[in-house]
């Protein structure tokens, strides 16, 4: 469970997130949408402390991760992240990408980490590429490997930062399919996305951000059919 209380994030004089409070329950799939520059990615990146909040609190399973006493590395082990630009390690093979952190951080043996990795590659349909280097893969394949890499740490929470935005259109589906499958496993997911159809279909809840404010927080059928705020209405008119 993630609980966000009065979260504020500023970059210098620029306040990007303004007093955000919300909660994501265990097993819930939340889509975070909004125009560019609205603070979606920043909000997501605060949850694993890639951005350090300026004020407010974030609790993960009742641990205050914004507290100075909190072991950030420990928190991150439990919160996987998938990036827009994949960020696979180019000097490691697909298998090496998946086994590195489990071996280094969790101290698993090569055999154990390899077993988990191959299992995950199977699930994302990338078993055949285990010994390839990332540069040999297509965008969609890279992103599926990146999802598997994050899952290899066996996290309870997965964060997706525009996972399909850098993909060619014909590769979007293969990644979304993997994410759909993942949503069914009961893992907690926060997804920053521009794929409205996907958000509508998969998310349990939609957070709509604009100008750093959390403007709407509603189930997808309600949000997409009758958004309360003018801003969300305008946004949906443009993107749907």
């Amino acid at each position: 469970m993630i609980r966000i209380e009065h979260l504020v994030k500023s970059f210098g004089p620029l306040e990007v997130l303004k007093d955000i409070s919300t909660q994501v329950d265990t097993g819930e799939v939340v889509a975070i949408i909004g125009p560019s520059g609205s603070g979606k990615s920043t909000l997501l990146r605060c949850i694993n402390l890639l951005e350090v909040p300026t004020a407010g609190h974030i609790f993960i399973d009742s641990i205050d991760i914004t507290s100075p006493k909190c072991d950030i590395l420990k928190v991150r082990q439990n919160v996987g992240m998938v990036f827009q630009h994949f960020n696979l390690f180019p000097h490691k093979t697909v298998l090496g990408n998946l086994t590195y952190a489990p071996m280094k951080v969790r101290g698993l043996s090569k055999a154990d980490a390899g077993k988990i990795a191959l299992d995950l590659l199977e699930k994302v349909g990338m078993s055949e590429k285990a010994d390839q280097y990332p540069s040999r893969l297509s965008g969609g394949q890279k992103q599926r490997v990146a999802i598997a890499r994050a899952l290899a740490m066996e996290p309870d929470i997965m964060l997706f930062d525009e996972p399909t935005s850098a993909l060619d259109p014909e590769m979007v589906k293969e990644v979304l399919d993997v994410m759909k499958g993942l949503a069914d496993t009961g893992i907690t997911m926060c997804i920053v996305t521009h794929e409205m159809g996907f958000a509508r279909e998969v998310a349990d809840r939609v957070l709509f951000l604009d100008g750093g404010y959390l403007v709407e927080d509603a189930p997808p059928d309600i949000f997409f059919s009758s958004p309360k705020s003018d801003r969300a209405q305008q946004f949906l008119e443009k993107v749907l």
Binding site: N48, L50, F83, N87, F89, P90, A101, M153
Partner: protein
């Protein structure tokens, strides 16, 4: 022009033994300099200001003064300052390592900065600590990018190593001078070591190309 290589032929083994001296000296200095340079480069990108200042000041000193002066200072001044009778080889390796560290730290710093910041974020998001992240993820990619520059640095080191002849190390250069002094022939021994240096640099360049090709495997 009357060249007489026959006269220096008996001294040839003596000269060629200098290859080992020069090579050993260069490899040792390059490795130490590279290690120290990596540490310095990490100081330079540190968020702690005094560490950055120290590293930058260090670099400015070694870049701002002649190498031969640094060498003379270390060799002649060490006994005077701390009473330790430093050997020419020690003084040479010490000075060249420190000097090379100053130059390579700049190269390595640039190499680290050039690694996509997503690599850092990906490592962090997996819970990887700073040390393993640097050693396993960032530095290998940085080194791959700057390999040509590091080879240049090593080549410069190899050729500059001739400077240690001025403090009495019997390296290639010094041996040529010794033979010249014995035979009163200058052109021949100097030409011989010139060719030897050239061949060594070419060998190094070739080796670097092989290494680079192997490292490009993942592209």
């Amino acid at each position: 022009m009357n060249l007489d290589f026959g006269q220096i032929l008996p001294s040839l083994p003596f000269i060629l033994q200098g290859i080992l001296v020069t090579l050993r000296f260069t490899i040792l200095s390059a490795l130490l300099g590279f290690t120290l340079g990596t540490l310095l480069s990490l100081l330079k990108i540190s968020s702690i200001k005094p560490l950055r200042w120290f590293a930058e000041f260090y670099t400015s000193i070694f870049r701002g003064t002649p190498l031969i002066l640094q060498l003379a200072l270390v060799y002649f001044a060490t006994p005077q300052i701390i009473g330790y009778k430093i050997t020419p080889i020690e003084a040479g390796v010490f000075t060249f390592s420190l000097n090379s560290a100053a130059y390579s730290s700049e190269t390595i710093r640039a190499g680290i900065m050039a690694v996509d910041k997503g690599q850092r974020e990906a490592s962090m998001s997996l819970g990887v600590a700073y040390r393993p992240m640097m050693l396993d993820i960032i530095l290998p990619q940085a080194f791959k990018n700057i390999l040509p520059a590091l080879v240049n640095e090593t080549i410069a080191l190899l050729k500059d190593s001739a400077l240690v002849s001025t403090i009495g190390v019997l390296d290639l250069m010094r041996r040529a001078q010794v033979v010249a002094g014995q035979t009163f022939l200058y052109f021949e021994p100097l030409l011989v070591v010139g060719v030897v240096y050239y061949v060594m640099v070419m060998g190094l360049t070739q080796a670097a190309q092989v290494l680079e090709r192997r490292m490009r495997r993942s592209d």
